[in-house]
Subunit: 275 residues, 2 copies
Amino acid sequence: MSEHENGWERSGKQPGQDRRGFLKASGSAMALGGITALAVGMLSATAAREKKPVSAKPRIARKQVILFQGDSITDAGRSRDRASVANDQGGLGSGYAAMAGVGLLLDHPGYELAIYNRGISGHKVFQLAERWEEDCLKLRPGLLSILIGVNDFWHTLGGGYKGTVETYERDYRALVQRTIDALPGVALVICEPFALRAGAVNDKWFPEFDKYRAASRRVADEFQALFVPYQLAFDRALKHAPADYWAKDGVHPSAAGAALMAHTWHAYVEHGGPR
Amino acid sequence: MSEHENGWERSGKQPGQDRRGFLKASGSAMALGGITALAVGMLSATAAREKKPVSAKPRIARKQVILFQGDSITDAGRSRDRASVANDQGGLGSGYAAMAGVGLLLDHPGYELAIYNRGISGHKVFQLAERWEEDCLKLRPGLLSILIGVNDFWHTLGGGYKGTVETYERDYRALVQRTIDALPGVALVICEPFALRAGAVNDKWFPEFDKYRAASRRVADEFQALFVPYQLAFDRALKHAPADYWAKDGVHPSAAGAALMAHTWHAYVEHGGPR
């Protein structure tokens, strides 16, 4: 699959150089959270660790459908009644997806973007697959952002779920392949599942949970999706405030945690990585 | 009243120069929306029109209580059950107050800020006054942001409300004086009521509604509060997308409109004006 086919363009352009319309003069359209030193440091460290160029850049295009998919972290109390209304405050919920989404709406007012959230609490990859036709493919997203995996591990701890990290990776790969087959031009964003040592997250989680994070990165790399390294974002944020500031139970982000996620998402999706 | 007493400091410092902690290295901590060309143009035009220095700067302080007050635009579907939980995604609602609030949480992770929203749909100034003890003074905000006035006018159009712009200004002035008497150190943000010619907003609104906007500015000036010029922000945004993109009924902002408001709020409150 060529880079073109999966909807990303790689180029040597400066940030903002290929922006159109009213953003052209600025080239600095950050969404929620903006360029804090925290974020700058975080992203620079990410670039160093990744040891690869970070020029992957999605195409935010006119009349594009943008879909956020995932579990409770994406769901974030969204209204089911409003799920089919694009750009709706109720339908987008109150988490990172809403915050990242409204940032796109503010940055691209002339683009007529249609942003949806279809995350559902408790879901694992196989449950996304079960509702993929209705909750993804039918919407025909031009940009699809997925955050999935914490339940694929968590529910094995007394939840009766028998899946393994191999199940997760195999199912995830199949889901992405199916998506690309149905939507050849889709730009894919794969967000890393994360956990903070607080609340429900204890020693039982490690190192097993780390394997799920690594699997999500392999899937992203395999399909040349843009990978958003949320674990690193939270690990660095923990140097500035304790875990319960970012995610009280270690899994579900607080308002501050969701803002950090939205900021990080924008840094990667709007600017292709650290800037 | 001195500038110190109402909680603002005016200085010739560069943006970020007096920031503390992890933001020091950046000096560019925008919240939602960031520095778009739209915003840059908007704020520069505001500065030109205001013909005054824009160095007023609130004190965002450690352990500060920050309160958003107003009508439905502030309310934005917030959970009443969660109203007393600081920094809560449900309690903050899904409007500009939530978006501006989470930006503060991201920009100041070490500050232990406590952010509340107590806006109530349909309210006018006198209704804020009726619940002010419980919904403002008892919380002892260090920074108080008020957006009120659209209903003070709107409800006179067939709603049976008999108040005038003089009622609005007199009540508003009394409310602010009462607040400062009870909380001498409070930093005040007075947000301009606004209306877009769309939906419920027709020719009947003008020029009478403009008088309410002017009154809110007089109250802000009188008490040296920071004034957030929302009408200008929306007027300029209308050059980039039609009214229903920003506020379908002309009064209640869409997700994009709320993002614009949060961005504008941060530009003024975090940076004292255009940058």
